[in-house]
């Protein structure tokens, strides 16, 4: 079963990467850009056919390693 995980910085955490990207894009003339934030994306495949079980496993991976819960939020989506 395949999942995608999106990890984003929490709202109140400074995002230096997003900031620089935003400024660069604006300097390149893309003035319609309102805001941009950068995060991480994982594609995870697990050997587990029960969806609740599988999702629990992915959630576990996020909590234990992939996400720094102090500064980051995450979302899990099933990929078809």
């Amino acid at each position: 079963m395949k999942f995608s995980v999106t990890v984003t910085l929490k709202k109140d955490v400074l995002d230096p990467q997003g900031k620089v990207v935003e400024n660069t894009l604006k300097n390149m003339g893309m003035t319609d850009l309102k805001s941009i934030r950068q995060g991480k994306h994982f594609e995870i495949e697990v050997n587990e056919n029960n969806i609740t079980e599988a999702e629990k496993k992915v959630d576990d991976m996020c909590k234990k390693l992939l996400v720094n819960l102090i500064i980051e939020d995450y979302k899990i989506n099933k990929i078809l």
Partner: protein, 225 residues
Amino acid sequence: MKSSVIVFPGSNCDRDVAVALEKMQFKNKMVWHKETRLPKSDLIVIPGGFSYGDYLRSGAIAGKSLIIDEVIKAASSGCLILGICNGFQILTETGLLKGTLLRNKNLKFINKDVHIKVINNNTKFSKKYKKGQILNINIAHNEGNFFTDSKHLEELKKENLIAFKYCDEKGDINENSNPNGSLENIAGILNSNKNILGMMPHPERMIDEIISNKDGVNLFSSLLS
């Protein structure tokens, strides 16, 4: 004094720290990350480098290594722990220190000699320095931009847990003297027990006149006395 330096596969300042410790007469042992026991030590150093390539978040994977559980145990029993650069990042990932280290503000790796000010000299790591003393010291990192929530920041200030701040050569602490965007120019912090110090600058690079200067020596000698 007995010291241990933890070696992760991508550590690259492990030798440098060991050389500094031995020069200062520590009895030092190198400890491989897959070990499950620590030799008896008064001081544990987590050195700089790129522990596991730092591909996920710097320090994240090292924070899950076998030896780290031992380091956490030692910490709670009061052993002194010093995390330098990547070591600082690892300490925040394990939760031994609060806060986190984000990408540098300019998104570039920065290596240069900067100035830092000794904010708290009343610790086992810094007592040989004078309060407010200005040190010239090397930094080399991609993620040194310290960030934490306002509650923790308050705590840091109230309990005097900020060890060092970036400043200019005159000691002024401002945006221009902040190399990486760090919150309030913070370069190093302590835990509330003050037995754990995490810092981005590299004291081990400042112990030899012919290479640089000797501004790092007193950090190691503070620990000895």
